[in-house]
Assembly symmetry: C2
Homo-oligomer: 352 residues x 2
């Protein structure tokens, strides 16, 4: 494919305007993007072009039927300016899993991998080195084909855009265990990174923010009794010394951070359990003092310790542990991501 | 507002290229569209402009988080070339109900109503007069504000586009009662006309089409035992001489055709029930010969009789009645819509 990847370089760079010491999350974009069109029944060769607006017909299905999927990845730079990705093939596979559920044609692996690595080589200078910063990478597919008939589009665009980013949350996180709204249905699209899953979370999350929380913890839509996940994070609970996370299902995203954290925890000798977690169990443990930690895990938020949770008009504070699992696991995973430690799992992927 | 609605007329018209005798559904667009921008915390005055592509940043939230809602309406022309809408305020109210759930700022009524009627006056020649044809109207709102943070956008576009259209389904419809996939969660966004609700239906619908059906009938996500609705239609079942439809809920769209059909049926002296309909009841009635009719009801599909339904590897045919409720009710509602009969309910709205 190397021969067919066309590159059109930007005439000027915006990089001089960027304050790399004060990066927010995902709001500044690099000079280039990858674009790949699906037309006439096939994905055409990808191109790297200057970052630029998209021009779409008002009847494009993305505007009407939410036919879009995405991924979230990061590129990390080490002290020698080597560039690293973390388990990128997992993102590629999940993109195609999402594609299938949203009736989007699956993408060839080489378009994804070679497009991504070539783009990162071009944007190398945009990858921050400040602690806690990285280049957030957003591969996404949208339905550009037109028509008001509620059926899949016949044309799509696969795009990769990049944004140098700082932390997703600033500080510890207060969560609300949701008792009215839901994120996903059994037999629905919760396990896919489908655009519509996120729009549906905004309003309940706003309500939680108005009450002083940062994030909603979603529960099952039937009884609101089992903890599922947070907006863009899977959830871990530590009761006594056991680390517990819910099983993945058709309602829950199979997070790459989640499964990596599980592997690292086992390697650290931490007892882990993958099983349903009931709200009752968590509340009882909080009351009994056996609930030691809760944290979210995801590419954007890395490992985000939860300071307290709200449930039915009560708030429950979590202890502030000196040597928490969250901090140990976060150090282990980021040390692998930034090439600061051995990678016994073979997760690191060098961009070259 | 009249003074502030700016109109920019198209230099040429595409109308001569249109074969009004062979219209498909929603695939040809008129010369103009209404556009209204939300910016700096308010909806700015709408404009009517030539139908043209939209230009959006690749990081616009519509592409990533499915933050969009829409409505579906029709304009009808009578024998004297008067133009009519059907209960347009109901669409406006539902748009704002959807807006709230998807964290989109609500739209002022006059922007919707005056924008819509002015646009229809300009596009009057595009409204087909052929039987079964109408001008399909698509009001929609999309998140144009940017950023990879999963939170509501700060800018939006409200657009109305129009498409002269023929029938949504050609002929009678074969449906499959879904037993694996689901459309909506309790506490979710099923009752909103949110884009993401539709993308999630495409794949299961494709699977049904491959098996020879036209449409899926969605059931509850918990047991798959209660009939909810179809892709873009509410569902009615006639057992003996009683017409039954499910209650609306947070999973089911409160269809304007549905509630109009209920009122007309009562007016016709037909016994109606609004209550949960179990699949078991429908299958038993089909076996016993008491299931007389099933039909879908929606703006796009009007009243669409169902010829047979599939359930767990069996197909059940419905009788072909000479004087069906479906045909009586369809005649009554379309006679009101096309100004061919008295409108005792006050549903017709003259565009002038
Ligand atoms: C709903 C949801 N859950 C969990 C995650 C975490 O997944 P990962 O660790 O692969 O980033 C994400 C985001 O990426 C998400 O969107
Ligand atoms: C999911 C769904 N159900 C039902 C309907 C029917 O609603 P209405 O009669 O207002 O068009 C529609 C479409 O309009 C719909 O999208």
């Amino acid at each position: 494919m190397t021969n067919t990847l066309m590159i059109e370089k930007a005439k000027t760079s915006k990089i001089k305007d960027v304050d790399f010491d004060n990066l927010s999350f995902g709001s500044i974009y690099t000079d280039h993007m990858l674009v790949c069109d699906y037309k006439d029944g096939e994905w055409k060769a990808p191109k790297i072009v200057p970052y630029q607006p998209l021009t779409l017909d008002p009847s494009a299905k993305i505007f009407h039927y939410g036919q879009s999927i995405f991924e979230g990845m990061k590129a990390y730079k080490d002290d020698e300016d080597n560039v690293w990705l973390f388990r990128p093939l997992e993102n590629f596979k999940r993109l195609n899993k999402s594609a299938k559920r949203i009736a989007i044609p699956e993408l060839p692996e080489e378009f994804f991998m070679e497009g991504l690595t070539t783009l990162l080589q071009i944007e190398k200078d945009w990858i921050p080195k400040n602690p806690g910063s990285s280049l957030y990478i957003r591969p996404f597919i949208l339905a550009s084909g037109t028509g008001f008939h509620a059926s899949p589009a016949d044309e799509y665009k696969f795009i990769i855009a990049c944004a140098p980013s700082g932390a997703y949350f600033s500080g510890k996180v207060k969560v609300l265990i949701e008792q009215n709204y839901s994120r996903a249905a059994n037999g629905g699209v919760g396990y896919a990174k489908a655009g519509g899953n996120y729009a549906g979370q905004f309003y309940p999350t706003q309500l939680a923010i108005e009450k002083g929380y940062n994030q909603v913890i979603w529960t099952d839509d039937n009884e609101h009794e089992y903890i599922e996940e947070a907006g863009a994070m899977n959830i871990f609970v530590r009761i006594n010394d056991t680390l517990i996370t819910g099983p993945t299902s058709d309602r829950i995203l199979d997070g790459i951070t989640r499964k990596s954290i599980l592997d690292i925890a086992k390697d650290e000798g931490i007892a882990t359990e993958v099983r349903k977690i009931s709200v009752t169990e968590v509340v009882e443990a909080a009351k009994a003092g056996t609930l030691k930690e809760m944290f979210g895990a995801g590419t954007a938020a890395v490992v985000s310790p939860i300071a307290s949770f709200g449930y039915k008009d009560n708030d429950y504070d979590l202890p502030d542990l000196a040597d928490s699992y969250a901090s140990r696991l976060k150090k282990r995973i980021t040390d692998i991501q930034y090439n600061r430690a051995e990678d016994k799992f073979g997760w690191r992927f060098k961009v070259q």
